[in-house]
Every structure is written in C-alpha cells, then in structure tokens.
Amino acid sequence: MSDMKANLASFTVRDLNRKPAKVLSTCDAEGEVEIRTRAGKKYSLKLLETPRDEGITLPDFDELYRKLDEAGCQPINNPEEMERLDRIIAGEE
C-alpha cells in the first residue's frame, strides 16, 4: 500500500473520540486528514461534499409597501416618535 501523503495533518483515534470537532474542522480546512492507531495503522478521512450555501430569495417588498400605502399606512418621520416606537418594539413601554 502506498504511503500516506507526508503533509497531511495527523490525528490519533483518541483525538477522533475526544476532539471530533477539531478533527473535522481541520478536515474541512484541508480536505483530508490522517488518523493513526496505536498499532501503527493509518487511515485517511476525507471531506467528500460541502452543501452549497442556501442564499436568500428576496420577495418584492416594493409591492408590499404599495399595498401598505393603499391600506392606509402613513409612515412617520418624527425622530422622537421613532424612538418611542423603538422602545415599544424593544418591550420597554
């Protein structure tokens, strides 16, 4: 069997048991790590797949604001009143 790559980060079976997050985060960062047993066996742990970011999909808020206007919503522009509403939202009033 061919030798493991020389520059792989190396962990023990004990690391795998006690510090799995550390082993996996290294694997995430480097793509592959080596696991060694006391008997001298070496295994390879590889990252096979990373899920794609979900991202976000934006709805049409301009359409929402148009509907709010039509339903009689009149925004405020008074800073003091805004502060009061912020306190209400924060549960302070």
Partner: protein
Amino acid sequence: MNVYADTNFLIRLFLNFDGSKSPWSLLQEFQTDFSSPFPVPPLLRYECLNAMNRMVYESRRSGQLRMTPESVAIGIHFFEEELAKGKLLKPVSIPWTDLNPIFESMVHRYTQKYGFRTYDMVHVSSAIALNFDAFWSYDQKARKLAELEGLATNSP
C-alpha cells in the same frame, strides 16, 4: 455571510413604518452575500407578531403613526408567508441548553455595566449559538451588545 435580524429590523422591513425602506435597501445591497435565510426562532416570531399588532394600538392611542388594522394584517400575512417559504426567513429551534451558557456568560460580563435587555441578550445568544457572524438591528443597544460579542452589524 450569515445574518441574524432582530425584531426591530424585521418590523421595519415588513411594515416600513418609518417610510425609509432602509432594511429593504440593505437586503438588496447584500443579496448575493447571504449564505442562509434569516433564522426566526419562536421568540422572535412572537415578538414580531405582537409588535406589528401593537402598532395599530399605538396609532389609535397617540402619536403621528397611522397604521391601520388592514395594513398590519397585510404585513403579518407577508411575514408569515415568507416564514413558510423559507427563502428569506426560516423557522429555527435553538435548544435552551445551547443558549444557557452563552446567555449566562453575557449576563455576568455586561448587564451590570451596560444594562442590556433580556430579549436582546437572547437574540444575540441565538446568533452565536447558530454560529452566525452578523447581527442586524436598528436598535442601538442591541447592536452594541452584538459588537461586543464580535458580530458584524449594520449601519444605523
């Protein structure tokens, strides 16, 4: 970029009660940078629903705000629809056992010095428990707490 948006941000986004459309502009600006939808734990949803309805009460009671029951119903419907779609808002459940150590650590480090609110600490703890890297709010205190915890925040 993984962003946690708090109640203050979401209410402004869905009701536009300040007329600025500022949260909407921010979303458009960073649209391609988002790695995942905004997480909405039950507490955040409850706060949003109550705060949106509270706007009707406040409109009737005093002030310049004119938020009709119809407009709030439209905003809530849009909010719930987005939550169901999961493309902008995503329902999440964060175990209290994950939040406890983060929340308690913040209480010990900050409350006596800064007087942060419980809900702000719950939301920032949630962002950290989810391994998110940004926290968006138009509330100065909430942003301050998030910044102390190393989260990126939006400009006011």
